[in-house]
């Protein structure tokens, strides 16, 4: 049986490790790249190298950046009194999208997960404690996911970081804006009911 050249097999192996790429896609991409124009392939390879070289975590908030501290941390127009705590660097982008949050960020790098052996020491909590001493932070907005681990981590942070003069809040969970009740699942609805607020 004819088989693919070794270099292509190796490339398929590497591509297959990427997130969201299965064996079929890996094979298609590898075959495409092996036959594509040299210039385009070089550009892609250089792009990957450059991104890997330049991108790092911001020394203050832990977000992805090329220059540390990142643009958000060094922007004097951002409110230094509010810090939004998120799990992963991409979550910063999600919160930034609506453009309503004007404070700064702190990326934990995950959430407590005993089943995956992720403990408080594995998260950037000590860094957050240092920031609380150094920066004029008045409010921490906990914006972790509403799953079991996200909720447990939020509780952990609220307990450990609590100190006089610091307000700790949790983002609300409830109905997606613009949708009717019939599209919400029961767990979401019951939580939305628990977290109801006085209207006028």
């Amino acid at each position: 049986m004819a088989s693919l050249p070794d270099s292509i097999t190796a490339l398929i192996g590497s591509l297959g490790k990427l997130p969201g790429i299965g064996p079929r896609s890996a094979e298609r991409i590898a075959l495409y790249l092996a036959q594509a124009e040299t210039g385009a392939v070089k550009q892609l390879a250089q792009g990957i190298l450059d991104a890997r070289d330049r991108v790092r975590l911001c020394e203050i908030c832990g977000a992805l950046t090329e220059a540390s501290p990142c643009a958000l941390c060094s922007d004097p127009r951002r409110d230094a009194g509010q810090v939004c705590v998120v799990e992963r660097p991409v979550d910063v982008l999600s919160i930034e999208k609506p453009g309503t949050f004007i404070g700064r960020y702190h990326v934990l790098g995950g959430k407590l997960s005993p089943l995956n052996a992720i403990e408080p020491g594995d998260l950037r909590i000590a860094e957050l404690e240092q920031r609380l001493q150094r920066e004029p932070i008045l409010e921490l907005v906990l914006a972790l996911g509403a799953d079991v681990e996200g909720d447990a981590t939020s509780f952990y942070l609220a307990k450990r970081l609590s100190r006089p003069g610091l307000k700790i809040t949790r983002i609300a969970h409830g109905l997606p804006a613009g949708s009717g009740l019939e599209f919400a699942d029961e767990l979401t609805l019951s939580r939305a009911l628990e977290g109801r607020r006085e209207f006028l």
Partner: protein
């Protein structure tokens, strides 16, 4: 609700099967080991995504093959096409041609209740089998239940994993305790509510099929007596010793009492069987009342083992299924099928993994 079409590929001893079923009563006749129960198993799989024989996907693949396919058309409120594919590497479930992302979106498309010899485990088996019975009935009637149950299970596993550590972080443990308590309290409330509504149905069903004056009573005995949070905190010393969570809904018991005595300990074999069938009849009636239409009834070879009185206890349910255009599948060998069910049924011959209509 009924199954209008069943399609099997490499499932158990069926290389390929395509069969159309009308509403009503289907009698699957054949010798032992020809594949009668496998048909019921496939229908139950469509409804619950589990085998009632308590086995995993690998065991349902036809010998020598690497994957099975089970498909069906279910007619209830509207018509739905279900496709299920299982191999060691890949599982696919689609509803009306679209992949199913959340189980809660799928469960409820088809509902089935099975009567089989394994039901005896409900009475004789460990508390886990009775909790699973409650859980199944709740997930068939309360859409949020499954998600809550999964939340509880994750909180429990996380917490137990923390307790295994030499010196668990107390605040992290508290964080997972809160999640455990909040999901657990909902589970306890829903289970208590269910048992209150379900118990009278099981009692009546049992009376109908029992020979003596026996009264079945169901008692929900939650592991938590009053306040989950308080009792969890009080159990810390024990937790430290056993390194696991010792109170909570995962330790609940559903006590089955016959004339106020635990059926598992004091019942005769015949009584235990009566109780098991009573629970299943109750389940079918509860689902019928709740959804306004009976589930598909799957009766696996148990009629032959029952005496006339117990068989007669089935008749009202079967009659109800017939009247409301429901569907019943019953397996039997040629000698022992219950002839009192009359001629109003579709007979099928099952032989070596094939299904033939017998006019």
């Amino acid at each position: 609700m009924h199954l209008a079409h069943l399609r099997l590929r490499d499932f158990r001893n069926y290389a390929r099967l395509d069969a159309d079923f009308s509403p009503g009563f289907h009698l699957l006749l054949g010798d032992n080991a020809q594949g009668k129960t496998n048909i019921l198993e496939a229908i139950y799989l469509i409804a619950t995504l589990r085998s009632f024989r308590g086995v995993g996907g690998a065991q349902m693949i036809r010998r020598g093959q690497s994957a099975y396919f089970v498909g069906g058309v279910v007619v209830g409120r509207g018509e739905h096409e279900v496709k299920l594919y299982w191999s060691a590497r890949e599982r696919k479930l689609s509803l009306d041609g679209r992949p199913v992302r959340k189980l809660t979106d799928y469960l409820g498309v088809a509902r089935a209740v099975v009567f089989c010899t394994e039901d005896l485990q409900l009475v004789k088996g460990p508390a886990r089998s009775r909790r699973r019975f409650l859980d199944l009935l709740l997930s068939q009637t309360v859409p949020a239940y499954l998600a809550l149950r999964q939340r509880y299970a994750l909180a429990l596993r996380s917490r137990n994993s923390l307790l295994k550590q030499p010196a668990p972080d107390a605040v992290a443990l508290d964080g997972f305790s809160r999640e455990l308590v909040s999901a657990g309290e909902s589970l306890i409330r829903l289970r208590a509510e269910l048992v209150r509504k379900f118990s009278p149905l099981a009692t009546l069903a049992c009376q109908r099929i029992s020979n003596q004056d026996e009264e079945l009573r169901l008692e929900y005995r939650p592991s938590v007596r009053e306040d989950f949070g308080v009792e969890l905190a009080q159990s810390r010393a024990q937790e430290r010793l056993y390194r696991t969570t010792v109170v909570g809904p995962h330790r609940d018991e559903l006590q089955l009492l016959l004339n106020d005595c635990p059926a598992a300990q004091f019942g005769s074999e015949g009584q235990k069987r009566t109780v098991a069938i009573g629970l299943k009849l109750g389940q079918a009636e509860y689902l019928t009342g709740f959804h306004g239409a009976p589930p598909v009834l799957l009766i696996d070879d148990i009629m032959g083992e029952l005496d006339a009185k117990r068989r007669a206890g089935f008749l009202p349910l079967l009659e109800l299924a017939r009247q409301s255009r429901g569907q019943v599948f019953m397996t039997a060998t040629e000698e022992n099928w219950p002839r009192e069910l009359g001629g109003n049924l579709q007979r099928w011959g099952v032989r070596e993994g094939t299904l033939q209509s017998q006019a």
